[in-house]
Amino acid sequence: MAKYIIRRLLWVIVLLFLVSLITFVIFYLLPSADPATLRAGRQPNPAVVAQIRHNLGLDKPWYTQYFNYMKALVLHFNFGYSYTNNVNVRTLIFDRLPATISLTVGAAILFLVLGIGVGTISAVRRRSKFDRAAMGTALVAISAPVYWLGLLALFVFAKDIGKVPIFPGASSYVPISQSPTKWFTSLLLPWIVLAASFAAIYARLLRANLIEVMSEDYIRTARAKGLSERRVIYHHGIRSAITPIVTAAGLDIGVLLGGAILTETVFNIPGIGRLAYDSILAGDLPMIQGTVLLGAFFIVIMNLVVDVAYAFIDPRVRYS
């Protein structure tokens, strides 16, 4: 198991290296705004632009730039400095991370609880009114784009513009270190909006899995033993039906930790997603690199976590 994890971690490094290279190449191959011109202000003097280009190292060939970037990254864990405001990329990313983690963790708790709860009840009471209503709602939640749902939620519930002003609106994010209460209330609406489609997907997934599992032979055995139906469902049924959920949730959480771009943008939460969005607009390569690498890191790590977790969930899975 330890060997397996080490091997996988080495692959993580290779993968991140490839991701950084691809991001770099894409940035240079595809037309984007010239970072030097962007920084030079209005009606820039060509000499100033050239000077800025030299200062940022943009006058060197891309592979030299890439080599220098990687050298700083590997030797000093330095992600470079923003083209737009010279801020240290690493510092800014770590500043922004708590907001994204807050958003992700809250939403994940919400969608797991909702998804598993609703999915279970729907499967156990298949074709009941609850099941029909829940699955209908789930279909709507899956179909609704998160930015639309976010704007709609703001329009209905936000304290500033809402028809039923009960939640703080956009741009109200407060770090947990400042005020846990305000942190919590400011994130309630984003959590619900972000969790909606995930909860719906998970509810449907669990429902389908559980219905299938409940017709397995070992469920018949469990009933034949004279166990209560409750124990049959929870101890034997859900235990099996939930395994695909673990995979899906792990991967989804990995993606979200890399920044929920749409949700963070709609609610103006200063997280990684919002940072990535802004830096793409500004053609700020070091910042883009930083957010992309962070996103890739979370995805591959969560992949590894899911695979390792599987060995604990399913005794038939063993890594060597």
Partner: protein, 370 residues
Amino acid sequence: MSTDQAPLLQVEDLKVEFKTDDGIVHAVDGISYSVKAGTTLGIVGESGSGKSVTSLTTMGLTRSRSTSVSGKILFEGKDLTTISADEIRHIRGNEIAMIFQDPLSSLHPFYKVGAQISEGILAHRSVSKAAARDRTIDLLEMVGIPDPHRRVDQYPHEFSGGMRQRAMIAMALANEPKLLIADEPTTALDVTVQAQILALIDDLQKRLGMAVIVITHDLGVVAQIADEIAVMYAGRIVEHTDTRRLFSAPQHPYTWGLLKSIPRLDSPRDEELVPIQGRPPSLVNRPSGCFFHPRCPYLLEDHKRIDPKLEPVPGDVDHQVACLLPDATRREIWQGLRAGKTPEELRALVEPPAATVAATTVPPDQGGGV
């Protein structure tokens, strides 16, 4: 077989129907049988003959809104078809236990074998977990699993097929049931392992004095351990007698078909096996008359209309058969079959006299290939 003893399980005119989108499935259609303590009943039939549904209904495992059950299943005088879900749950796995066909899919892949057995003990007995575990180890030893102290903490995938079925048997015996229902207990196993498992069931029955119902499509299995045998076809019992008589003097064309389609050590080396033509009938749209008539080589025109009752063979109250052929003709056909004649050759025995031939338009091979 002692006859003075009251039966442990008595099934009376049991009917089980499932409502489906295709129509009503008549899975079990008015069957009656009884089992006494210490005896073994074999229920034989093809898949879809209703043999598994009968036992699942006994366990209360077919209860649902789309199922309708009529008749009685009396277990120690209690009617299992009418008692509450809670009452039957206390009987299930406790007084009546069941083992299933495929031990791999019948064990939960995520839990240790020992835990799955202990769970059944803890469901019915108020004992400590440690006591349940000790009992589990004893059970594993009783069913012949070597090194039970180590095996108790292994997962099903670490067991071989035969060991898994032994574990299933241990699970079934955990609460010393009065009745053990074994549903195709050896079908998923190798032939040598089959024999071991059957010997184990037989041995445990003698030691524990249980009643056993063995459900199988394999006459070889019931020959080995059953005292009496009920042959089921399309949800009904078509022949019911003790094992010796069923093999020496079978009465129903379906039973003949089953017997002639398996190889026997005492048959001539060059004798060909004769499969039963056609397929089991749909239980939604069942054939008219005798349910077996579309596949019966000895079909007469009347048999398409008349539904035979399960009745004692003349002169033998312990041998019941549901067949429209005259008793003497049946005996002659079986003699012929035993002598190695084919059903086609023997059909002449049932052809009506020449005077009524005009009314019969059935060609000799009408019964074949549905």
